[in-house]
Amino acid sequence: MLESLTKSSRSSRNVMLVALVLIGAVAAYNWIIAPHLNYLQAAQKYELTAENHAKANKIVSDKVEAKKKELAQLWERVEQASSRLFDPQSADKFFSGIQTVAQGENCRIYSSQFSKTDHTSNAASSQNVVLHTASLEIAGSYGDLAALMDKLQDCPQQVNIDLLKIESAKDDCDLLICEAVVKAYVIEDKEIFP
């Protein structure tokens, strides 16, 4: 090879050798460097995608956290609101105890009529709220009737007294006859609240 190189002209020899070195360099680049570079470029893109995913995750995660807080607040408000509603057991206890409460306040119940009305106004709501009413006719003094009203409404749940009517008894001026409708809202499945 040296002889053939020596015999060839200087410029052609140089060109040939430089070309050989260049071809070798390019081939070595393609065989050794390029695969690594391609892999690293792919890894870089992969990393970029992962970063985007992480950013998206962060955003979604923040939103989820905010929504969790919002849901917790809503549950708290629902809890507070539902605390003013009776559950079926306490409602039964309340209405069955009216007679006793009235007697305790020196009042006499002449008549009582109980009824239930489904009061769910929003069909989409999962909760079933039922209005329990008791139409009462009670006899007692003014102070006793006021005390009885106080007793009936003195509970955590909301008790509404409606259509109140008080007038003197026909045969006894000191005795008052009171007609009232006691209303209590009962939530059927209160246990579902967290």
Partner: protein, 505 residues
């Protein structure tokens, strides 16, 4: 360069190898090392190199033994026959001097018919002459090529080959020729079995002549032989006669310097005795061993006694001589091969550098790839995508939950707000506290959501007004106003009043 510039002069005679390693310094040239060794048996025969590898090996061994680190070297020409002559260049030769010289050399009978190692250099023209002149040296190229090739293979990097006598002239030029401004000098150098004459007129080379042993009479010229000494004396006389004929100034005297390897102690005296007028002819005889004293590296107290020829050869590669006789018989093929080798080496080095760089870069990239692979093995992206999906599902579930809970809350709020919650015990207490003594309530009835009608009897309207006024101040009452007044004849003086009250939930 960072290292000092050195060169090795290799003087080869028929029996001795002399080496001189010189170094270029700021103050000129200095001798580093010198070595002498024997020529291997059979390596040189009849003035020609017969066994170039053995000779190169011996030179390499000698250099190695004396720890001579050679950058480049110059070699004395060992070739028989060898042509050395001065040619007058005709004006028609013009710029194509090489071709003219080649044509002239072709007619020289002593040279072999094969390829020739040829070189020439222009020399100064003697006083009153106008023709251009050139010193031509030629020899069988095989003699130069083989030994140069072998020495290059041994790593001695031969860059120049020239006749030994010319190397001596270079070595002594500064101390002798350059000093002889108005003097003519005849150098007679006996080396390698041949006699070479150099005649310098006023520092200008005027004559070069080579005397070879006559075939059949003797093998080589040596001072040990009486016949050779007589022959030498005859030759010198011939040259001197020529000098006297050609002398510009008839009164000039030529100084003769004879440099030869003397066999015995009385050789010099024997030579002088050959001239009847030796005392008047200004003859100076020097042995080759003492010839170094005329060189720039000569030091009186030095133990090293280098070969003046080796010093002259080494000087050629350094900037230590002002002599303009520059002959190099290193064949162009060897020079080209060396250049090609250098280029090949350079390109190979470049290639190696590129490959090493690539390996280095590949190593770096490989380690980077490994790190990346480790990261990617954790399926980071897939895991993140999965997590994103989970988060999105959770977000959707939360949205649904929030919707449902909001509806539930709205439902409960609506239910609770739909019915006004009135504190009846407080209202009744308020009424009892507000009623004046002249007023008696007969009926109390709720009217709708937050309204109350009080039916009462009063003795005077002022009592009723007071009652209304008091009611308006009650905590659980919004406004109270008189709705209706009826006078009841049966009841006597009292009247019936209806008072409407709005209630505060």
């Amino acid at each position: 360069m960072f290292c000092a510039k050195t060169s090795l002069g290799i003087d080869i005679s028929h029996d001795r190898i002399n080496l001189a390693l010189l170094k270029q310094t700021k103050n000129g040239v200095s001798l580093l090392k010198t070595a002498t060794g024997a020529v291997p048996d059979g390596a040189i025969k009849d003035g020609n190199i017969e066994d170039a590898p053995a000779l190169a090996k011996a030179i390499k061994k000698l250099a190695s033994q004396n720890r001579m680190h050679v950058q480049r070297s110059a070699l004395s020409l060992v070739a028989n026959p060898m042509l050395m002559q001065i040619l007058d260049l005709p004006k028609k030769a013009g710029g194509n001097v090489r071709q003219f010289v080649r044509d002239e050399i072709k007619h020289c009978a002593i040279l072999p018919s094969g390829q020739l190692a040829l070189d020439f250099c222009g020399i100064q023209t003697p006083f009153k002459q106008t023709t251009r002149r050139t010193l031509v040296v030629a020899a069988d190229s095989q003699q130069t090529t083989h030994i140069a090739h072998e020495l290059n293979r041994a790593g001695l990097n031969v860059e120049s080959i020239e006749p030994a006598s010319l190397a001596y002239i270079r070595a002594c030029y500064a101390k002798t020729i350059a000093q002889a401004i108005d003097q003519d000098l005849l150098f007679v150098i006996v080396h390698g079995g041949i006699i070479t004459f150099y005649l310098f007129r006023k520092q200008v080379l005027d004559l070069v002549r080579i005397k070879r042993p006559e075939p059949g009479k003797c093998q080589q010229c040596t001072m040990e032989s009486e016949r050779c000494r007589i022959c030498l004396a005859d030759e010198i006389n011939t040259v001197l006669q020529f000098y006297e004929m050609e002398a510009f100034d008839k009164g000039d005297k030529c100084q003769v310097k004879l440099i030869a390897q003397m066999g015995g102690d009385d050789a010099g005296e024997n030579i002088e005795s050959l001239w009847p007028n030796a005392e008047t002819m200004n003859l100076e005889i020097t042995t080759l061993e003492k010839a170094y004293l005329d060189t720039p590296v000569a030091q009186a107290n030095s133990r090293d006694k280098p070969s003046a020829i080796a010093v002259g050869l080494a000087l050629k590669l350094l900037d230590g001589s002002n002599m303009d006789l520059n002959i190099n018989l290193l064949s162009s093929e060897v020079a080209q091969a060396k250049a090609a080798q250098k280029e090949l080496l350079l390109i190979a080095n470049a290639g190696v550098v590129i490959i090493v760089s690539m390996i280095f870069v590949a190593g770096l990239l490989g380690s980077k790839t490994k790190e990346t692979s480790k990261i990617m093995q954790g399926e980071k992206c897939t895991h993140l995508a999965r997590k994103t999906q989970v988060l999105l599902n959770e977000q959707n579930w939360l949205d649904r939950q929030i919707g449902d809970v909001s509806k539930t809350l709205d439902c409960i709020d609506n239910i609770l707000k739909s019915d006004s919650h009135l504190n009846w015990s407080g209202i009744l207490e308020d009424i009892r506290g507000a009623i004046p003594s002249g007023v008696r309530i007969t009926k109390l009835s709720g009217m709708g959501a937050s309204k109350l009608r009080l039916e009462c009897r009063a003795l005077s309207p002022s009592d009723v007004r007071l009652f209304i006024e008091m009611l308006n101040k009650c905590e659980h009452m919004g406004t109270a106003s008189l709705a209706q007044t009826k006078t009841d004849d049966k009841a006597g003086s009292s009247a019936k009043y209806d008072i409407d009250c709005s209630l505060i939930p």
